[in-house]
C-alpha cells in the first residue's frame, strides 16, 4: 500500500470535506438545541476514535511486551499521539456544546469523567516514554503503563456511574447525552462523520507510524 503517494490523501480529504459540507449545509437544525447540536457530529466521532485508539495502545503494549518488536511501540506511540488529540477535541467540543445546552461548561457525568481520566492517562503514557533513559526502556515502561491504564478505564467508568447516582446535584442537564432523538438524516450524517473521522485518523496513524520508523533509521 503506497501511502507515499498523495492518492490516499486526496481521497480522504474529499471524504472529510464532503463531511463538512454535510454538517454545515445539509444537516437539519435541531429544534430544541439549535445549531449547537451540530457539534455532536464532531464530538461523537472523536470520542469513538479516542476510545478506539486507546484500545490500540493497549494492544500495542501487550504485543510489544510479548514480541519485543519495537515496531509495536511505534504503533502504540502513534495511536497515543492521535488519541490525545481526538480525546482533547472531544472534551473541548463537549464543553462548547454543554454550555448553551446544559448551562455549564463541565459536569461530572460518567462519560465525561471517564474521558477526562482517559485523557490524563494518554498524556501520562506519552510522557513516560519521553522521559525514559533510552528508547527500549521507554517502550517497556510505556507498554506497562498502557496496559494498567486501559484496565483502569472500566473501573473508572463504574466508579463514575455510582458517583453520579450518589451526587445527582453535580450533574446538571439531561441524563442522556442527546436530549432529543435523532432523525434519520441526522443519524446518517452522524454515522458518516464517524466514518470520515475514523478514516482520517487511521490515515494519520499509519503516516505517524511510518514517520516514527523513519526517525529511527535516520538516527
Amino acid at each position: 500500500m503506497k501511502l507515499n503517494s498523495n492518492f490516499y490523501l486526496i481521497i480522504i480529504a474529499a471524504i472529510v470535506i464532503f463531511d463538512v459540507a454535510l454538517i454545515t449545509l445539509f444537516a437539519p437544525t435541531e429544534v430544541i438545541m439549535g445549531h449547537v447540536q451540530k457539534i455532536l457530529y464532531i464530538h461523537v466521532p472523536n470520542a469513538w476514535v479516542g476510545f478506539l485508539f486507546f484500545f490500540f495502545v493497549f494492544i500495542a503494549s501487550i504485543m510489544y511486551l510479548i514480541t519485543k518488536n519495537i515496531r509495536w511501540d511505534y504503533f502504540g506511540q502513534a495511536s497515543g499521539e492521535i488519541g490525545v488529540v481526538t480525546t482533547t477535541i472531544m472534551v473541548i467540543s463537549g464543553a462548547i456544546w454543554a454550555k448553551p445546552v446544559w448551562g455549564v461548561w463541565w459536569t461530572w457525568d460518567p462519560k465525561l469523567t471517564t474521558s477526562l481520566i482517559m485523557l490524563l492517562m494518554y498524556i501520562g503514557y506519552l510522557m513516560l516514554r519521553a522521559y525514559a533513559s533510552n528508547p527500549r526502556q521507554g517502550a517497556t515502561f510505556a507498554s506497562v503503563l498502557g496496559i494498567i491504564s486501559f484496565v483502569n478505564v472500566p473501573i473508572v467508568y463504574m466508579a463514575s456511574v455510582w458517583w453520579r447516582t450518589v451526587h445527582p446535584e453535580l450533574i446538571i442537564g439531561p441524563l442522556k447525552e442527546s436530549d432529543a432523538g435523532l432523525t434519520a438524516s441526522m443519524g446518517f450524517i452522524l454515522i458518516y462523520s464517524t466514518f470520515a473521522i475514523t478514516i482520517l485518523c487511521v490515515f494519520l496513524l499509519v503516516r505517524r507510524f511510518q514517520l516514527r520508523t523513519l526517525e529511527e533509521l535516520i538516527t
Binding site: N134, P135, R136, T219
Partner: protein, 239 residues
Amino acid sequence: MIEKNSIEINNVSKSFGANPILNDCFLTIKSSERYVLLGSNGSGKTTLAKLLTTLYSPDKGEIIINGYNSDKDSEKIRSLIGYVGHNSLLYGDLSGYDNLRFFCNFYPDIDFKKQFEYLSEILNLSHLIKQKVAKLSHGEKKRLSIMKAMMSNPSVLIMDEPDAGLDANSINNLIDNFFPKVINGNITVFLTTHNSDFALSVASAMGILQSGKIEFQTQDIHQFSKVISKYQSMNESVL
C-alpha cells in the same frame, strides 16, 4: 572426563539506544577457569558482566551458565552466581552482619555461621562486621561485597573490577589468600580489570574486549604477557 563449559556466551549483542555495546560476542569459559577480561573504559566489560548476572538480557543471542539459559532460567542462574560490581550493593544503614543475614535469608541451604566465620577471617573483616556499612572505607566495603558474593557458596563468581579502589595490601590479600583458599580451583571466575599485574596473578585464561567482541584470547599462560602488551598498546594508541 568431559570438561563442562561453565559459561557460554553465544552470538550476543546488546545495545542501549542507538549505540551497540556488544556485537555478536562469543565467549566460552570452562569450569573452574579463572577468566580475566581486559578492556578499555567503555568497551562493555560491565555490560558483559551484568549480562552474566541476568541483570541485563541480551538483545540477540544467548547466555548459558552451567547449562541454564539466562532468559528462561534466570532465577536458577542467580542462585548459583556471586557478583561483585562497582556499587557495593550493601545497605549503608545496616551493619555488615545484618546485610549478610538479610541476603542469606534467600539461600536457605547455606550454613550461615560457618561461611560467615570463614570468610570474615580470610577477608580480614572480623573487626568491622558489626559496624554500619556507611562508616566503612571504600576498600572495606569492597571486601565486604566480595564476602557477600561468596556467602551463598556460588559455583560462578563474577567480579567487575574488584581491585578498583583497593590498596596494595588488600590486593595482595586477594591474590595470596582469597584466590588460593576460597576459590581454590572449585569456582569458575569471570573477572574484569585494568590492572595487568593483578590479571597475571590470578588468571588461568585471558581475553581483550574490543569493539563489542572478545579478541586476542588465550588459555596458555605463556601467552599472557603477549596479551597484556597487546592490551597496553591498544590503550596507548587510544590515548
